[in-house]
């Protein structure tokens, strides 16, 4: 597929195509060899001594979205995010940022990319223990050669932004884990990057602090609309933050879609097992659950928004004892009654579109990209929870 599209509003920030990262002796031959490339990890290791951390991954990160890469440990997600700025050198495939080939960049250009366009937040913070909070936040600017007073001034602004005012003079060792990660976040924000890369940023934090930090990131995203690539192993974190989620297993993307798509139509048994315990009524929206309105339906009764989670409709239907109308800008676009709502909770609603959803997995990137392009307002930063119909229903409208 073409990754060299000219800059239009729809140009993805990151476009990754057929990306491989293989560790081990003579790693280059593996992506090139179809037979070796098809081996499962254990066979590959015993045959060649190599480990394929990322295998043939393709996806686009659109401007303004939170793109979550989620998978269990060892699934290759951390390697993948490091390949984006070549902190780890990819073995094969293409990566482009705003249409520019990252793998073809020379050292100076790559430094430029790291300094201005993509900044990363790390799991264990990666702070310099001998510097104060302020100087840690200013570090990225210092690397760029910004003068001392200017960088301190700008750093102080971001220290305030992440809620650490008054702690500028402390050292990382004197902060709690959550505070340290705020420093890490401020350091990344201070260089005003186009994309923020998060590598499991909250895994090392206590659950309560983790929730705080997730809210913080959601708030920042709401306020600034910055593009984010977010790596996590925590499904609820992925569902909470992600506009789209790429689910990885053994180096491959097994499904790519909105939280709702992943929960309501898992691509395979692995994903199904993964999302089994997710409270579907919190993720699936009324737009997905509704049936077309029929003339028999009452014209009054409770109304819900199409992007409201099903849980909201359940409450409305239970209170009123009648089907609820799904109202979009004053127009009734559909109806949800007991039957639809129970289907969602029981997890059988997806069965209608399961066949189509399954082949969207085969061409996960291409499929969802096509689907995404068709979506209303897909180019603009979407709000959390805004629902889109699953692929089968969008295809007729495809431009």
């Amino acid at each position: 597929m073409s990754t060299t599209t000219t800059t239009t509003p729809n140009t993805p920030v990151f476009s990754v195509d057929g990306l491989w990262k293989v560790f081990g002796p003579k790693a280059d031959r593996i992506p090139a060899d179809a037979e070796l490339a098809a081996l499962d990890p254990a066979d590959l290791r015993s045959r060649t001594g190599c480990t394929a951390a990322v295998r043939d991954v393709s996806f686009d990160v659109r401007k303004g979205e939170v793109f979550v890469v989620m998978g269990l440990s060892g699934s290759g997600k951390s390697t993948l995010v490091r390949c984006l700025t070549r902190l780890i050198e990819p073995t094969a495939g293409t990566i482009s940022i705003d249409g520019e080939d990252v793998r073809a960049m020379d050292k100076a250009r790559l430094r430029e990319l790291r300094r201005h366009r993509a900044a990363m937040v790390f799991q264990h913070f990666g702070l310099l223990p001998h510097r104060t909070v302020l100087d840690n936040v200013a570090y990225g600017l210092e690397i760029q050669g910004v003068g001392k007073s200017e960088r301190r001034e700008r750093a102080a602004e971001f220290v305030t932004k992440v809620g650490l005012e008054g702690m500028e003079k402390r050292r990382p060792g004197q902060l709690s884990g959550g505070q340290r990660q705020r420093v890490g976040l401020a350091r990344a924000l201070a260089v005003d990057p186009e994309v923020l890369l998060f590598d499991e940023p909250f895994s090392a934090l206590d659950p309560l602090i983790r929730r705080d930090m997730q809210d913080e990131v959601a708030r920042l995203h709401r306020e600034e609309g910055r593009t984010m690539v977010f790596i996590t192993h925590d499904l609820s974190e992925a569902l909470k933050l992600g506009d789209r989620i790429a689910l990885m297993r053994d180096g491959r993307v097994v499904q790519l879609g909105t939280p709702e798509e992943i929960v309501s139509s898992p691509a395979d048994d692995y994903v199904r097992e993964f999302v089994r315990d997710v409270p579907r009524e919190q993720v699936v929206t009324c737009r997905t659950a509704m049936r077309p309105a029929s003339p028999q339906d009452p014209a009054n009764g409770p109304a819900v928004r199409p992007d409201a989670p099903v849980a909201e409709a359940i409450e409305a239907v239970a209170r009123a004892g009648a089907p609820a109308r799904v109202m979009d800008e004053g127009k009734c676009v559909g109806v949800v009654d007991h039957a639809q709502l129970l289907d969602v909770v029981a997890g059988v609603a997806a069965s209608t579109g399961a066949a189509e959803a399954a082949d969207s997995h085969a061409a996960a990137a291409a499929g969802s990209r096509a689907a995404g392009a068709a979506r209303v307002g897909a180019a603009a930063p979407r709000k959390r929870g805004q629902a889109t119909p699953p692929p089968p229903r969008t295809s007729p409208e495809d431009v």
């Binding site: 990666g126 310099l128 001998h130 570090y139 690397i143």
Partner: protein
């Protein structure tokens, strides 16, 4: 990533071979069964066969004479070493004159202020008292001589060490090349370094400084490399992700992150330099070491003590101040560097105007005479014939007759090939076949050098001293590990003992036991004991508390816990303690040649004193081989895990 090895399917092997130790011994026995009859038929003698030696003394003497003849004419010396030598002399002289110009008040004030700046008030007071004591003992000028030599040597060592460490820290290939060299340099006795520099530079200050640099630079290089390599990889990754250049990464992240190791390296370098600067008095270093050396040569314990106390004080102060600088970081600022300099200059000027630049002669305490009287009294009353316990000289005599002589006799009675076999077996059982091979080759090299007999003499002293050290050290270590009170009592003693230069230990043993082999062994035991006690206690205390707790919950007695849990689990530490003990004992046994220990140490001292460098160099080479052999024999090498460490 790709280091996971596939488990190989094992074919059935006889039960006895499953036991690794037994397998090694069997393999060795098989090799020996072939080689020994062969060797015995060709060169059947107990001592190393004469036909297998290479006489190096003649070519070495020629080389040494050539150097002496050409030192003032050959371009290599005129334009190469000559410049080095002149630069060293000039630098030492400049520092020495500066120190004298600052006067005793200026130096004391500077020392105290620096200590205050980096380590707080208590150490500042300690530093001032230490300097004043040096003056009060009438040792101000020698102290300044030693200090001047130290300053130049330490600065050079730090520069050289840091550069080497930087290279090894940044390049894997250089690291692989340097590491074994530095590791080996660390275990060689100080004495072995003296002769090669004397050969090139002759006896004098340049040789002393360069020997000190060669001896003191390795810890700096090792720790620099270690610090650079030990930096948190995620921090480095974060720095790289922000687009830092290699230079920025080095200057803003790697070096500051290695601060602790760098300062520890500085601390160790200073301690090693002091130790060597004192020993280097044998090759013309002057200063405190020279006073000790001269005094010991005439068995004048009082004068030796008067020069020895300043050495100890200097060592303790330097160690504590640099160690505190390494640990500190968050302590409140006390006084700025400009003020330190300004106050020092002011004090020095004031003293100069008052005309009391030299230590006032009326303030000098003459401790030499009273000490000598005390020693005389001891000689008269405690040396021998004390009822029931016997005297110190009797003990030394008994030790020599009943332990040293039989061990030496036994070693020299053993056929040469059986000594090699013993070395191989021990080294292989504890380490790997590589260490065993190195050890055997080193031992064989001693034979080839033609110093088999004196080397075995030295070896016998080492073995006796190590045995005593380990028995005492393990006992004290176990006691310290099991009782907090014992540990608290021992800690300050161990701290002081570990910082004292080797040379100083000779003074008390000469006072107690006179001269001979037994005092050399005693000095070695005293010198090596603190390290052994400390490593043993640490190893025992680090034993997994869960294992101990489970043993206790099963009702194990204290003795059972010790023998069944603590000692087996601390095996690695105990082996390390033994290894350190051997290395340290050897260093002092060699120096013991100066107080009648004889053997290799005496050969080196004799070679230096008589200008017979060939004899000295051969003995020095034998010391290197002996050190290498002893280190490898006791080196517990973990299999393959060591490379990455």
């Amino acid at each position: 990533m790709a280091t996971l090895t596939v488990p190989t399917s094992r074919t059935a092997i006889p039960g006895i071979l499953r036991n690794r130790a037994a397998a090694k011994l069997l393999a060795l026995a098989a090799v020996a069964a072939v080689l020994v009859p062969l060797a015995n038929s060709h060169w059947g003698s107990n001592t190393w066969p004469h036909t297998l030696t290479v006489d190096l003394s003649h070519p070495l003497a020629t080389a040494s004479n050539w150097v002496i003849d050409n030192r003032d004419t050959h371009p290599l010396f005129l334009y190469g070493f000559g410049y080095v030598s002149n630069a060293v002399v000039l630098a030492v002289r400049a520092v020495y004159l500066t120190l004298l110009a600052a006067g005793w008040t200026g130096v004391t004030a500077f020392g105290a202020l620096v200590a205050w700046r980096v380590a707080g008030v208590r150490l500042a007071a300690g530093t001032a008292i230490a300097f004043l004591t040096c003056g009060a003992l009438g040792m101000w000028v020698p102290t300044m001589q030693t200090l001047a030599l130290m300053v130049v040597a330490v600065l050079t060592s730090v520069a050289v060490g840091a550069l080497l460490g930087l290279a090894a820290g940044l390049s894997d290939r250089l690291d692989r090349a340097l590491r074994p060299v530095l590791d080996t340099m660390q275990v060689l006795p100080a004495f072995a370094y003296l002769l090669p520099v004397v050969l090139v530079f002759g006896i004098g200050v340049p040789a002393a400084v360069l020997a000190t640099v060669v001896y003191a630079a390795p810890p700096m290089a090792r720790l620099t490399a270690l610090g650079l390599r030990g930096a948190d990889p995620e921090v480095l990754e974060a720095v790289e992700s922000l687009g830092a250049t290699a230079r920025q990464r080095l200057l803003t992240a790697r070096i500051p992150l290695a601060r602790k190791e760098l300062l520890l390296g500085l601390n160790q370098t200073i301690m090693m330099a002091l130790s060597m600067a004192v020993i280097a008095s044998v090759i013309g270093a002057g200063g405190l070491g020279d006073r000790v050396y001269q005094a010991l040569a005439s068995v004048d314990v009082g004068a030796a003590l008067a020069a020895g106390i300043p050495i100890v004080l200097l060592a303790v102060v330097l160690d504590r101040v640099t160690a505190a600088a390494g640990e500190g970081g968050a302590q409140p600022r006390t006084i700025g560097w400009p003020y330190v300099l300004a106050i020092t200059v002011a004090v020095a000027l004031a003293t100069r105007l008052l005309g009391t630049l030299d230590w006032p002669s009326g303030w000098t305490l003459h401790i030499a005479e009273p000490v000598n009287r005390a020693v005389d009294w001891m000689t008269a009353h405690l040396y021998s014939g004390v009822p029931v316990v016997g005297g110190t000289a009797d003990w030394a005599g008994h030790f020599t007759t009943w332990i040293l002589d039989p061990v030496r006799g036994g070693l020299q009675w053993l056929p040469w090939w059986s000594v090699l076999l013993l070395v191989a077996a021990l080294a292989w059982l504890i380490g790997t076949w590589r260490t065993a091979l190195t050890a055997v080759l080193a031992m064989a090299a001693i034979g080839v050098l033609g110093v088999w007999e004196p080397s075995l003499d030295t070896l016998s002293q080492v073995l006796a001293a190590v045995a005593v050290t380990l028995v005492l050290g393990f006992a004290a270590g176990v006691a310290a590990a099991r009782s907090d009170r014992v540990e608290r009592a021992l800690r300050p003693v161990l701290d002081v003992c570990q910082t004292m230069p080797q040379f100083v230990y000779l003074i008390p043993v000469v006072a107690l036991f006179g001269v001979g082999r037994a005092p050399a062994v005693a000095a070695a035991v005293v010198y090596a004991l603190p390290a052994v006690v400390r490593i043993t206690a640490q190893g025992l205390r680090q034993v997994d508390p869960a294992a101990l707790e489970s043993a206790r919950s099963l009702g194990a007695t204290g003795r059972q816990q010790l023998w069944q849990i603590q000692l087996p689990l601390a095996r690695r530490s105990l082996l390390l303690a033994a290894n350190q003990g051997v290395v340290l004992v050897l260093a002092v046994v060699i120096i013991g040649g100066l107080v009648g220990g004889g053997a290799l140490g005496y050969d080196v001292a004799f070679g230096l004193a008589q200008g017979d460098l060939a004899t000295g160099l051969v003995a020095g080479a034998a010391i290197v081989c002996l050190g290498l052999m002893l280190d490898r024999v006791t080196q517990p090498t973990e299999r393959r895990a060591r490379k990455g460490a």
